[in-house]
């Protein structure tokens, strides 16, 4: 079996695996990248609100934000995906495509983890910065927007990229509800070709190239930003 390693199966299905499954260009709605990029962007935006919410001095903001984080970090992502799959159509009273189910689930789930990173980043900004900003007459919102967040963001970058890598890998779970991502594309090809060894190893390498370059980039940024 090992000696019969057949790379032809990759070559024959290259377009389906890479264009359809990885990038999302083709007749199916799919694509690992097409799901990962909006999930990262919207997850981060929601994460900023959750993270700042946890630090708020108003208890009616900080308690729900804390519960949100603790809840989603105590539940597997698969569960959250199933929740969205069943509950969103009931709430909207109509069926919705897998793409939106997966995207909503990822944004909600990852925002809990990203929120914790935002919180740690904001807490790493020295208090004197806030006091100085208040002293020069900035409002609370202005202080957060122009003084705290830009500095916090710099401290957050390494952990953020690590979490983006986790999110990128997590998008493979969208295949469970039938979304045509890279993992699902490999399953579909395998059903026809019965070449699991080559196919799953190939997609492992594709995922690895993406995540490894992201982590190299994080290390590079970390080195550049850390005071020498």
């Amino acid at each position: 079996m090992l000696l019969g390693f057949d790379l032809g199966v990759i070559a024959r299905n290259w377009d389906f695996l890479i264009l359809q499954g990885f990038l999302g260009v083709g007749k199916f709605v799919g694509g690992t990248v097409r799901l990962a990029i909006p999930a990262i962007i919207f997850g981060f935006i929601l994460g900023v609100f959750i993270g700042l919410g946890r630090l708020s001095s108003r208890r009616w903001v900080s308690i729900p934000a804390t519960l949100y984080v603790e809840f989603f970090r105590g539940v597997p992502l698969v569960m959250v995906i199933f929740w969205m799959w069943f509950v969103v159509p009931i709430m909207l009273k109509r069926p919705i495509p897998e793409y939106w189910v997966a995207l909503i689930a990822f944004v909600i789930f990852e925002a809990a983890y990203l929120g914790e990173i935002v919180r740690a980043g904001v807490q790493s900004v020295p208090r004197g910065q806030v006091e100085a900003a208040t002293a020069v007459g900035l409002t609370t919102t202005q202080t957060t927007r122009y003084v705290v967040l830009p500095q916090a963001l710099k401290n957050m970058i390494p952990s953020l990229v690590t979490q983006f890598i986790v999110l990128f890998k997590d998008t493979s779970l969208a295949s469970i509800i039938g979304f045509m991502d890279l993992t699902r594309a490999a399953q579909v090809v395998n059903n026809r070709e019965i070449r699991p060894f080559e196919l799953y190893l190939f997609i492992a390498v594709v995922y690895w190239i993406c995540t490894y370059s992201m982590s190299r980039y994080a290390r590079h940024v970390e080195r550049r930003l850390s005071p020498a």
């Binding site: 809840f71 970090r73 105590g74 199933f82 069943f86 890998k169 997590d170 493979s172 060894f197 196919l199």
Partner: protein, 241 residues
């Protein structure tokens, strides 16, 4: 689509039985995979510090490759791709002894082992070199220094990240449903299939996971506080994924 709740599906029929057997399977799978992950984590963590370069490269390759590829891909790999490549005797044994369970154990254990390795490495790196130097200077042998100084500190340092990784392993065990291991998420789906009551079934499964994770996390943070060395280690490390 008007939804009518019927919570009684959770205590009538076989639901209770299914949830319980799912919970036990989740615990069994997580525990066996955890043992494998800890063993691999310690082994690869140690190999990354040896002088012999090929072993170091091998251990680094293991850590960097396995933790950077989605667990789901590993589940499929160990379940669909590896068994056909095995010799006849082990393959037949596995077919008779729940192949899907062992594939899930290996997938989860090997993936988490790579992550444990990183936790151990950063724990050991966090101990100042001077601790070792001071131990040697006060007359301890290297073995004694490890036994009485380095390891007691390192184990305390890694409690928060190791707890977090162990909880990830527990939550990640839910992916075994894709290769039809009848664990908690699988059984939750089964209740949904039989009763068509999705919200009730998901609520039950979600609550069980929450209780498991929250109680494990509280237990570990209690241990962390109990074993904290006053003034040496700042406690209250948050769990991180």
């Amino acid at each position: 689509m008007n939804y009518t709740f019927n919570w009684s599906v959770l205590w009538t029929g076989q639901s209770g039985e299914w949830l319980l057997s799912g919970l036990l399977m989740t615990l069994k799978l997580s525990l066996v995979a955890w043992l494998l992950a800890v063993a691999l984590g310690i082994l690869s963590g140690a190999l990354r510090t040896v002088a012999f370069r090929p072993l170091r490269v091998l251990a680094t390759f293991y850590v960097e490759f396995f933790r950077n590829v989605p667990l789901l891909v590993w589940m499929f790999f160990w379940y669909f791709a590896v068994p056909p490549a095995l010799p006849d005797t082990p393959r037949e044994w596995l077919n008779d002894h729940s192949l899907e369970f062992w594939a899930a154990v290996v997938a989860l254990g090997v993936y988490s082992g790579a992550r444990f390795s990183e936790v151990l490495r950063s724990g050991i790196q966090a101990i100042p070199k001077t601790q070792m130097e001071a131990s040697i200077a006060s007359g301890l042998t290297v073995f004694q220094a490890y036994r009485y100084v380095i390891l007691p500190i390192a184990l305390r340092l890694i409690i928060p990240p190791a707890t977090s990784e162990s909880l990830n392993l527990l939550k990640n065990s839910s992916l075994a449903l894709t290769i039809s291991v009848a664990e908690l998420t699988f059984q939750t789906r089964q209740i949904e299939t039989y009763t068509a009551k999705a919200i009730e079934a998901l609520t039950a499964g979600t609550l069980i996971y929450l209780v498991l994770c929250v109680s494990l996390a509280s237990l570990m943070s209690w241990i962390e506080r109990r074993t904290a060395i006053p003034g040496l280690i700042t406690s209250g490390g948050r769990r991180r994924r």
